[in-house]
Symmetry: C2
């Protein structure tokens, strides 16, 4: 081997340390059925798209893929807005992008907080200098339109945050009428759809939702790493007329939006996540090919099949009001005397099935079963039921 | 098909619009040789890793992959530090993570600015409320140790930023002696290695570099989307003793570091980018299997072969001082009377080869040729030379 000259030609060259050399060998991954609150298993067609060769982040064929992602998101959000894109990060990056851009320091946000996502939005909004009104309701319940309207009228906030699918409690927040109430109070409606988008109905324009973010790894069956986002004209206007710069350069929608062609040109802002956006394009093609209604029906049927089986075993939903039950993340009360963690461990060890415990306000009280995207199908439901049956029999809750 | 019940049971259901339905069909990607400043072509072994099935972001086999990534980064950075990780975003996320965490509002940063990366750091540091000293030198040159030492002594900044490989100008910044000068002045040394890491020597511990970030899509041959980062003990101490919260939740190293096991436990902070981290694990395995020295030699040889061919055509380097020339991103003066864009277009149309123009201070004056990672090999060099020869012949600069 020819010796390399040095750090830069003429400079001293320390010895290379092999102390941390590694890893070596080709990566191998065990098969798992990811039936917790996410990530869900990715569709193999989407994984295959991630093995395609790279394009440059400003190459015309890649810009066409970005256009297709934007189109697919319009269909998914049910919105005519021009302003869709994917943040280059996970769902949390989408959340932070929304908060960092929609709020200026000192502005008020009312956070509908019925689980961990509201709590997290409170934290983020506080870090960006907003005035936070933490509107709470009990874990396992949703906000009524009357409660939300009262809060809007009292606080006249710049932004109202709601989480459509609260994955820590399994609650489906209704959005009907909320957009109208927000508009009346000069408030922008921001909705988290990380674990609901594609699994349950979303009609952004009809419902008057001003801004939405989501995640790639739930009902869209892609790997984690892209955060779909939309703004309507009103939300964009808010961002364009900010008096202060967005604190984050990486998430500044004035710049990121320009890379996505929102303003008629395309400027380099950061290097788009090439493989990840291939995956998103493929995920959205799958959504379009199936059709939204068929997808929603499939998720609902999986949910019903799951509960038919769980009820037969004597298990009960954590969410008391049937209207509030999220079909994509199902929360199940742990019966008295049953070791929830042992049931999860048995499911993983024996069936390679992930069943999750609670999170935040529900830790130790519930199991969580995700039926999302590629996983929302009868075979997966059957596998989860078999894992519960086996675990509950071991625990003596079911007879052998 | 069974009808789905509604948005939530009992609520009105608007009609679904098919106005934006699409895209459809399986994604197809044309082959391109990405010989610009990045992304470079990904190694097929790394792309294959991205088609492996997902694991959960807190599953033990996935945590083992994160451990392997951290180990591989220690080898790559040549550091014994415990504190390595990948930010869940592109190189810009790594840059913002470093700036957001290492600086508190009102603290001073001296930015060694000889191209667009310094300019960008100035912007980011300003957004986070730091006091920015923009230390400039002409495009195509680097900073001497004497200049840097004088700035450190004058400003006593909290942080000194340097870009090891300035991709807009093709300059390789020397780091020899800088760490020592920083330590004497109570300054942390932060280095951008986005287009240099893996391609040219880096000895973080021996050189006293306190914090480094990089990108996945250059000399590491992975897709864009992960930003390798390291802190030494001193840099970590700075972050742990901050008086103000990091503005960004997503990039807060007190939290992200905890997910990566820096503090002895593992807390969920965000959903790790499963496929992307498979890719990083595989990229780092390839680095370890080849060995750092062999990789550096390979990059240097590709650079020499490129310049042997370019010089024969009568082309000249943009960077005057041979010591300052970066081997990974080569900058080439556009000769008088030659249409640089026509040469790039011909290379893409006829050879599927990306050759880039200048950026920022060098726009219109230079071409940029990346020889990075999987692309730093004789066949790619020959293809680039063939594309230049053809383009320059068309332009009448070379005889037919």
């Amino acid at each position: 081997m020819a010796a390399f000259t040095s750090a830069r030609p003429g400079e001293p060259t320390p010895a290379i340390s092999d102390a941390h050399k590694g890893p070596t060998g080709v990566l191998e991954i065990p098969q798992r059925f990811l039936m917790g609150p996410g990530p869900a298993n990715a569709d193999p067609r989407i994984l295959a798209a991630q093995s395609l060769p790279l394009l440059g982040h400003m190459h015309p064929p890649f810009l066409k893929i970005m256009d297709e992602v934007q189109q697919g998101l319009r269909y998914l959000f049910q919105s005519d807005t021009k302003y869709t894109l994917c943040a280059s990060g996970t769902g949390h990056a989408g959340m932070e992008m929304a908060i960092a851009n929609l709020l200026e320091p000192g502005e008020k946000i009312v956070v509908g907080n019925n689980g961990i996502w509201g709590t997290r939005v409170c934290d983020m909004a506080d870090r960006f200098g907003a005035e936070v009104v933490n509107l709470q309701t009990a874990a396992g319940t949703s906000f009524s339109l009357a409660e939300l309207t009262a809060a809007l009228e009292q606080h006249k906030p710049a932004v109202l945050f709601l989480c459509q699918g609260e994955s820590s409690t399994g609650v489906h927040q209704s959005l009907a009428g909320v957009g109208e109430a927000c508009a009346k109070n000069g408030t922008l409606l921001l909705v988290d759809t990380v674990c609901s988008l594609g699994g349950v109905p979303m009609y952004a324009d009809a419902w008057g939702v001003d801004a939405i973010y989501s995640g790639s790894q739930k009902c869209l069956s892609a790997p984690p790493g892209a955060a779909p986002l939309m703004l309507n004209d009103k939300a964009l206007q808010k961002i364009k007329s900010r008096k202060t710069k967005v604190r984050s350069y990486y998430l500044d929608l004035n710049l990121v939006g320009d890379y996505w062609g929102w303003f008629g040109s395309r400027s380099y802002h950061h290097t788009g996540m090439v493989s990840m956006w291939y995956a998103m394009r493929e995920a959205l093609a799958i959504v379009s090919e199936e059709g939204l209604e068929a997808g929603w029906v499939r998720h609902e049927q999986a949910h019903k099949a799951l509960w038919a089986g769980l009820s037969e075993m004597g298990l009960h939903p954590f969410v008391a009001d049937p209207k509030d039950r999220l079909v994509t993340v199902n929360t199940i009360k742990v019966p008295e005397g049953v070791d929830w963690a042992a049931v999860c461990k048995n499911a993983m060890d024996k069936f390679s099935v992930e069943i999750a415990g609670g999170l935040g306000p529900t830790a130790g009280q519930i199991w969580r079963v995700g039926l999302m995207g590629y996983n929302a199908k009868p075979a997966n439901v059957e596998l989860v039921l078999a894992a519960f049956k086996d675990g509950l029999t071991q625990q003596g809750f079911l007879k052998a």
